[in-house]
Structure formats: C-alpha cells, structure tokens
C-alpha cells in the first residue's frame, strides 16, 4: 500500500456481558514521520514516471483512430449510442448488414449474395417491427424528440403505428426511449455519420411499414389479408414538422431529385420556385 493510513480497522470477537460479540476496533496509528512521507512521495513520483515511460515505450492501445481512412475497419463498441432505429426482427442488436446476410444464408442454406437479393427484393417482411405505438418512448424522451403517430388498423380493428417520427437534431442519445420500450422494438446503433446540408433531413420516420406488430401479422395465414395489413411509409414525408411542405423558396423534400443535396441551390441563387 502506498497510501498512508491514519487509522486501521480490526474486526475481532470480544466477550461482552457473557456473549461473544463481533466488534470493529478502530486503531489510531502513529502518524508517519516527515522522512517516511518524503520517501513515500518520491516512491509515488517514480511509480508515475515508470508508468508513463511504459506508455511511451509501448502504448497498450493507441486510442486515436484516424477516422475517414479506417471507415471499413472501424470498430464500434456495443454500448455506443448512435442513431436510433427499429430493431429488425431478423437481426440481433448491433448486428451488421453482412452478419445479417450470413445468418440468413445459414438459416436458408443459400449463398449470402442470394440472401442479399432475397431481402433486397420487395420483401416487406424485412421491415416487420415490434412497435405497437404505445408512446412509452415519446413519454420517456426528455427532449421531446420522438413523436408517435398512430392509426386505426382496419383488419385487426386496433391501434397500430403509423409514423415513428424521430428528430435527430434535438436528440441527445440518452437511450431513455430504448430503455422505456416495453416491446424491445427500437435500439441505438453504431451509426454516427449524420452530416446533411438541410436540417429538415434530420426529422424523419423510423418505420417503413405502417403495420401492427410482427407476431400479429405472422399469425394471419392468408397472404392477401397480410398484404392489406401493411402500408408503405417513406422516410421523409407525411405530416412531419419541417417536412418541407409549405416553406417558401425551398423545394419539398419528397421529390427524389432534391433529396441529393437540397440546400445547395436554395442559398445561392435567387429563388427556386
């Protein structure tokens, strides 16, 4: 121990009133002499210098990462709290796309490229989700960055999610929504590259399908009825604040041409009708 202890606590058994009782005795130690203090201080200094020298000589791990070059090999830890997204039912948390392909290929006994085509196609099952639209996340959000819009599902005659609107621009990545979710429907991913030229692009809906929970869809056997339970929802659009509708001089976001870099023309030239 390098520390100088002024007291020492000794646990012992003592006979008190005919019984043996365990007591803690606080013993006051002799204060250290100045010489001892000086020696301990120098020992501490030398220990510190030895530690930094070992770092200098062979750094355990250089923590700096030269970011844009190592984008392919970038390691994001599991506890990293990046962009919010809907947890895909086929995916476990923080599973990368390639890992998902591997898993699907293994399950279906196909090649990963085939699996990619399989999930890239107009297969809406990829976007099945666990969200019920219960708004627990909306209540939990301290910044009011989440807005849950629900609709009435015709088939099941029940409430279901219409749009899960997430404001990235006011989110502080506190993870409270994920913890609050009773259905384990959303998760924080490792995504962090969020730079855009238009802040309207930072408000979008997370869900691709306006649909009930995955198990309710899968319980339905008739594919035609299943298809009727599902509505496609785009990332931008709908009654989202700052969605680009009704703002003068700015093209609406919904148009696919403008989505590339919407603001670059808006600031420089006079008026884009």
């Amino acid at each position: 121990m390098g520390m100088i202890q002024a007291t020492q606590i000794v646990n012992e058994e003592r006979p008190i009133a005919g019984k043996t009782v365990s007591v803690s005795v606080v013993q006051r130690l002799r204060p250290p002499t100045r010489f001892q203090v000086a020696l301990l201080g120098m020992q501490g200094l030398l220990q510190g210098m030895w530690l930094t020298l070992t770092y200098f000589w062979s750094p355990v791990e250089v923590v700096t990462r030269e970011y844009p070059e190592n984008r392919d090999s970038l390691k994001i830890t599991e506890r990293f709290r990046g962009n919010l997204r809907f947890k895909f039912p086929n995916e476990v948390a923080h599973q990368t796309h390639s890992a998902l392909l591997e898993q699907i290929a293994q399950e279906t006994q196909t090649h990963p490229e085939v699996a990619e085509n399989w999930i890239r196609d107009e297969d809406d099952t990829r976007w099945y989700h666990n969200c019920t639209g219960c708004s627990k996340c909306e209540e939990a959000c301290p910044n009011a960055s989440i807005r849950i819009l629900t609709r009435h599902g015709e088939i099941l005659d029940d409430r279901e999610i219409d749009r899960f609107v997430w404001r990235l621009d006011s989110c502080m990545f506190c993870n409270a929504c994920v913890l609050a979710c009773p259905w384990d429907a959303i998760e924080m991913t490792g995504g962090f590259e969020n730079a855009v030229f238009d802040r309207r692009l930072l408000v979008y809906s997370l869900n691709r399908l306006a649909a009930p929970r995955i198990n309710l869809i899968q319980d339905e056997q008739d594919p035609a009825v299943r298809a009727r339970m599902i509505d496609w929802r785009s990332r931008y659009g709908g009654p989202i604040p700052l969605g680009g509708t009704g703002l003068p001089n700015l093209p609406a976001i919904g148009a696919p041409k403008v989505q590339e870099c919407p603001v670059s023309h808006a600031g420089s030239t006079a008026v884009a009708p």
Partner: protein, 369 residues
Amino acid sequence: MAATVARTWEPNTIAQRAAAAATENLWVTAAYLIGSMIGVVAVLSLLGMVLIYVERKVAARFQCRLGPTRVGPFGLLQTLADTLKLVFKEDFVPEMADKFLHMLAPFLALLVPVVLLALLPYSPSMQVADLNIGILFVTAIGGFGVMGILIAGWASNNKWSMIGAMRAGAQIISYELSATLALLVVVLFSGTMSLSGIVQSQQDGWWIWRGHAAGFCAFMLYLIASTAELNRTPFDIPEGESELTAGFHTEYSGLRFAFFFLAEFINMFTVSALTATLFLGGWMPFHIGDWAALNSQMDLIPPIIWFGAKTSAVIFIIMWFRWTFPRLRVDQLMHLEWKILLPIGFANLLLASIIVLINAYPFPLELPQ
C-alpha cells in the same frame, strides 16, 4: 597522475575568429558577426518548430495518442501551419492596457533565450562567444527573464494576468537560488566560470558521476529548479489553465502570443543545454579518466552529436516530468523551495567544497604546485 587524453580540444569561438580577422580585414569580422546573428536566429526558429512538434508527439505517446499526423509527412508541417495561423491573427491590445509595455513584454521574454543561445558551446568550434564569467552571466540573464513575464502581466490590465505574473515572479526568484547553488557546485569542481572551460574540465569524466553524490545531487537540484524557472508542469502555476485561464499571456494573441510560446520552448532548450554542459560534459565525449582505449573510441563520435544527444535526453526528461506529474499548489511550491531544496543546496555546496578541498575525485585533478 596526469590523465592521458587521446585528443586535445582547442575551442575556437566565432568571437575569437572575428577578433583575429579584425587586424587584417574588417569585412571578415563583420561577416562573422552578421553570420553568427543569422545563425542564432536560424537556430531559434528551427528549434521552436522542432521542439513544439516533438513536444506534441511525445505528449501524445505518453497518453496513448498519435499526435499530429495530418499536415505533411508524419505531421511534420503542423508547427508551420500553426505559426502561419498565428501570424494572420489579429494583434489585439486591451483598451485600458499600457500599450507600450504590452507590446514590449514579448520581446523581453524572447531576449533571454536569444542571448543564452549565443553563449552555449555547441562544439569546440561552434560557439559565438565564450565569456570568462559565463556562469555569472547566464544566471544574471536567466533572472532577467522574469521581467518579460512581470511586465506582460502588469501591462495587460487583467487580474488573471496580474496574478499569474506575480506567481511567476515569486516562483522564479525563489528557484533561482537553488539553481545558482547547484551551478556553484560545478564552478567549484571545475575552477572556472567559462562555459567552454567547464566543458573542458570534464574530459576525465562528467561531473554528474565524477563529483560523487554532490555532483548528482546538484544535477537533480538544477533539474528541478530549472523546471520551475521554465514555468512548466509540475510548476506551472503562473499559467494554470484551471485557475488563471492562461496566466500572464491571457491578453496576448497572434504573433505576440507566439513570441511567449517560442520563448518558453527556447528556454527549455537553453536550460537543457546548460544542464548538459554543466553536468553531462557538454560536447565532451564520454571519457573515464585514463582509460585511453575507451576514450579514443568515444572520440570518434563528433562533439556536436554528443551535445545534441545529451541535450535531447534532458529535454525528454523535462517533457516526461510535464506529462506525468500533477501541478503543485502555490504554498507547496514555496515549501518545496525554501524548506527542502534550499537547505539541501547549501549542504550540497558544503559537501562539494569538502570534496574539492581533499581532491577526492575518482580521477583527481593534477594540482598546480
């Protein structure tokens, strides 16, 4: 018991060469003087660049980081880019400041290391001037360095600057004592005050080991005291960021701030070079008494490389201090100087004078009798 030395060194300073040329051609003298001025300025700017880069790299290594890597190969041009940025910044003077003194202070701060650069013996043939009162001059000029800091703090009309400058004044004046006591030990050992003479007196062995415990103790004392005089961590209370924003140079920007910055780093070089000169033999190769075989082998390495290696080692130690130790409080600083270092310094001086009296070196001096 004369030590057989494989090679004799004849220092030939630029001042001597200029004086010798004065009898024949005054133009040559003028060329020598101007050349040495240009040389000092070149060394100054080059050292500033290199030292700041090295400091950043070493600090990064100590903290498991990478340091500058982007500008130029291995980030070598980072300092140049920073300097360019500083040059183009606004030269801001506070409204109620003493404008003349505010502008004068950075030059005073930079003056000291520039003068000291001219005195250092880099190698037998590379020294601008060799004063016979070299140590005295170095001490006097080194103490003058606090003037720039005090004036900067006073003229800024800012309470943080003022407190920082006062702290720097108290600290430098205090630690000047210990540093001078350590220097006196070397003066006792070598019997001369000229820096070149001190280097030559170590041709049987460097004073750090040849002076027994007194030599090593003086080395440690000088290292600690000079770190304090440099205002570097762990003695950086004059510019403690958490308390005083930036201390005495809070109100400086642009090139004047760069001057303070440069002065700090050049000061670090001069102090390290002085430590190397006084205790580690300067440009003198590693000699052990009359071991002619070893000595002649060591002589193969040119003196300028010996000087550079020793100075770099001391600079590394000072950087090592900075990135390891926590900052001292003001009262702890004064406690360390007046109650610990100063008594040790006096006792050490006494011990050194006893060693000199009974000529108890490992390879005794040949007494002139």
